[in-house]
C-alpha cells in the first residue's frame, strides 16, 4: 500500500537544523566577502614591513597586531582568505568537473568503462590523498597553481564515486525506463533525468570537499609547497608563527582560527543543504507485492 508516511519527531527536527545551516552560510559568505574586499582594499599593505614595532600586540592601527617583520596581521589574514578560497574553489571545481561526468558515464555504460573508472578510483584511493598532493607539488614545483592541480586530482575520484553511486540506484527506477521507452538516449537521460536528481548529493559533497580542500591547501602551504611569497597564505603564516611560539603565541593562533571558522561555516552549510536538497525520499517499498 502506498502508506502515507506518518509525520514523526525526526522530520520535526528539520527546522532547527536549518538555523545552523544559515549560520554556516553566513560565516562562509563573510569569509568570501573578506577575500573579495582584500582584492581592492586592506587596512595596510600586507607586505609592508615595519621592523621597528614588530610582534606588537593589537593596537588602533593594527587591530590584530603585527608579525615578526612588523607586517599587519589583519591585512595578511584577509589576503590569505583569498588564496585559500581561490585554490579550494578551483580545485573542487576541477574535481567535480571531471569526476561527475566520469561517474555518470560509468553508471550509464556498464561493462569495461564502468570497470575502468572503478579501477582508476581504487588506484587513486590507494595513495593517501596528501601524499599525492605532496608528490605532485614537488614534481611540478611549489606554487598555488600546482596546489590546485594536486588537490583537484584527489577530488576527482571522490566526485566520481558519489556521482556513480547515486546514479546507479536511479537507472533501475521506472521513470528512467519510461524515458528509454520515449526514445531518449543514455547521454540525454543522464543529463536531463539523472543529473538533476543527484544534484542534491553532489552539492552536499561539494561543500564537504571544499572544506577539506581548505585544510589541504593550508597543509601544503605549511609545508612550503603551496603559494610562494610574496603571496600570503594561512598555512605559511602558521609555519612562520611556529618559530616565534615562545615569544608571541598570538601569531600562531589567529591564522588557525581563520581556517577553523571558514571550514566550520562550510560544513554547517553542507549539513543544512543536505536536509533541504537531498531529503531521504521516503520510498518505503510502495508495492503491495501481493
Amino acid at each position: 500500500m502506498v502508506e502515507t508516511p506518518t509525520p514523526t519527531a525526526q522530520t520535526m527536527g528539520g527546522r532547527r537544523l536549518a538555523a545552523t545551516a544559515w549560520a554556516g552560510g553566513a560565516v562562509a559568505a563573510l569569509v568570501l566577502l573578506t577575500a573579495l574586499v582584500s582584492l581592492v582594499w586592506t587596512p595596510h599593505d600586507p607586505a609592508a614591513m615595519d621592523v621597528a614595532n614588530k610582534l606588537s600586540d593589537p593596537t588602533g592601527a593594527h587591530p590584530l597586531g603585527t608579525d615578526h617583520f612588523g607586517r599587519d596581521v589583519l591585512s595578511r589574514l584577509m589576503v590569505g582568505a583569498r588564496v585559500s578560497i581561490a585554490v579550494s574553489l578551483v580545485a573542487v571545481g576541477l574535481g567535480a568537473g571531471i569526476g561527475v561526468p566520469l561517474g555518470l558515464l560509468a553508471s550509464a555504460r556498464h561493462g569495461w568503462i564502468d570497470e575502468a573508472v572503478m579501477r582508476f578510483n581504487d588506484l587513486a584511493f590507494a595513495f593517501p590523498a596528501l601524499l599525492t598532493a605532496v608528490l605532485i607539488t614537488a614534481v611540478l614545483g611549489p606554487g598555488a597553481v600546482n596546489a590546485i592541480l594536486a588537490i583537484g586530482i584527489f577530488n576527482i575520484p571522490v566526485f566520481a564515486r558519489v556521482a556513480r553511486g547515486a546514479a546507479l540506484s536511479l537507472w533501475t527506477r521506472p521513470f528512467i525506463q519510461a524515458a528509454r521507452l520515449a526514445g531518449r538516449g543514455r547521454t540525454r537521460i543522464s543529463v536531463e533525468h539523472i543529473l538533476p536528481n543527484i544534484a542534491g548529493a553532489l552539492i552536499v559533497q561539494g561543500t564537504i570537499q571544499f572544506a577539506l580542500a581548505i585544510l589541504a591547501e593550508a597543509g601544503l602551504s605549511y609545508l612550503g609547497l603551496g603559494s610562494q611569497p610574496p603571496e600570503v597564505s594561512w598555512g605559511r603564516m602558521l609555519n612562520e608563527a611556529q618559530t616565534f611560539l615562545f615569544l608571541d603565541p598570538r601569531l600562531a593562533i589567529l591564522p588557525g582560527l581563520a581556517i577553523v571558522v571558514t571550514v566550520l561555516g562550510l560544513n554547517l552549510l553542507g549539513d543544512g543543504l543536505r536536509d533541504r536538497l537531498d531529503p531521504r525520499l521516503d520510498t518505503r517499498r510502495a508495492d503491495g507485492g501481493r
Partner: protein, 290 residues
C-alpha cells in the same frame, strides 16, 4: 490503416539471467526467466498475464517493449522486429507501444513538472510535432485521464498515488499508441483508488480501441479488465484462453491452485472451514521474492 496483422506478437521468446557462481570453479548457473513463450495481441484486444512473483511476467514485459533483447525467438511490434531496426526506425516504432509501471512513487521524475513528463514521449519519438501542438496533445492526454490543465505546472510530490498513476497513463497515451503494456499498474494502490484506475483502463479501451497487455498477480483484477488470459509459472505459459472460461474451469493444476488460494469474501457467511490450498503449489526452491 485497418490492418488485421496483430499489433504485438512474440514467437518463442526466451530470456535467462546468469546467477552468481556458488564457487569459483562451478559453471555459472542460469535462471530461465522466460522460456519459449509465444503470444499474439490483435488491435483493440486485451490480454492478461497472471502469475506469482518470480514467474517471469515482468521480464516478458521488458522483452515485448524492446527494453531488453530476447536470448532466443523474435518480438514483432506492428509486424516489425524492434531489435533489428536502426535507432531512428526503432524510435518511430516505439510510438505504437508505451508502458505503465507499478510504483507510482518511482514512475514520475520528481524534479520534472507534469507537462514535461507527459510531453517526453513526443519529444523523443515525434520531434516533428511542433511545440504548440505538443502542448495541446499533452492537455488532451491529461483530459483523457480526468486531469485538468491546472496540473500542468505541478510536480509529482503534490499528487496522491492514484493521481500519479493517471499522469503515467497520460504519458503512455500522448503518442496515441496501439498498445499499452501495464505492469502491475494497480498493485500499489488502495482498493478505492484501484477501482478508479481500473475504470480508466476500461474506458480508454472502449473509447480509443487501445490494445492492452495487463500484467498482475491479482486474478480478480485481471478477470475484470481482460478478455484473454495467460497463466505463467516459472518462465512458462501453463494455460491460456478466454479469461472468464479459464478462471471458471481451470485446466492446469497451477491455475486451479492459484484460484483456490485467493481468499474469498463470502467465507464470512459460508462457514469457516478454512479450505487449505491443496498441496499443488509446492514450496519449490526458495522463490525469487521480488
Amino acid at each position: 490503416m485497418t490492418d488485421s496483422r496483430p499489433v504485438l506478437e512474440a514467437r518463442g521468446v526466451s530470456r535467462a539471467y546468469p546467477l552468481p557462481r556458488p564457487h569459483p570453479l562451478a559453471p555459472r548457473p542460469v535462471r530461465h526467466a522466460v522460456a519459449d513463450i509465444s503470444l499474439t495481441l490483435a488491435r483493440g484486444e486485451s490480454l492478461g498475464i497472471v502469475g506469482e512473483s518470480g514467474c517471469g511476467k515482468s521480464t516478458l514485459a521488458r522483452l515485448l517493449t524492446a527494453l531488453e533483447p530476447p536470448d532466443a525467438g523474435t518480438v514483432l511490434i506492428a509486424g516489425r522486429d524492434p531489435n533489428a531496426l536502426d535507432k531512428a526506425a526503432l524510435r518511430r516504432l516505439r510510438r505504437s507501444v508505451q508502458m505503465v509501471f507499478q510504483d507510482p512513487m518511482g514512475s514520475l521524475d520528481p524534479r520534472w513538472p507534469v507537462w514535461r513528463i507527459v510531453a517526453e514521449p513526443l519529444v523523443g519519438l515525434a520531434p516533428e510535432v511542433a511545440r504548440a501542438d505538443r502542448r495541446a496533445r499533452v492537455v488532451e492526454a491529461l483530459a483523457a485521464v480526468g486531469l485538468g490543465e491546472e496540473t500542468l505546472t505541478r510536480y509529482p510530490h503534490q499528487f496522491s498515488g492514484g493521481q500519479r498513476q493517471r499522469i503515467a497513463i497520460a504519458r503512455a497515451l500522448v503518442t496515441d499508441p496501439d498498445i499499452v503494456v501495464a505492469d502491475e499498474p494497480v498493485s500499489a494502490l488502495d482498493v478505492s483508488v484501484q477501482a478508479q484506475v481500473l475504470n480508466l483502463f476500461l474506458e480508454l479501451r472502449r473509447r480509443r480501441g487501445l490494445a492492452l497487455l495487463f500484467i498482475s498477480h491479482d486474478l480478480d483484477v485481471v478477470r475484470h479488465v481482460t478478455e484473454r488470459i495467460m497463466v505463467m509459472d516459472r518462465g512458462r505459459v501453463v494455460e491460456a484462453g478466454p479469461t472468464a472460461e479459464v478462471l471458471a474451469r481451470p485446466a492446469h493444476p497451477h491455475t486451479a491452485a492459484l484460484l483456490a488460494a485467493v481468499p474469498r469474501l463470502d467465507a464470512a457467511w459460508t462457514g469457516r472451514e478454512r479450505r487449505a490450498a491443496p498441496g499443488a503449489v509446492t514450496e519449490h526452491s526458495p522463490s525469487r521474492h521480488r
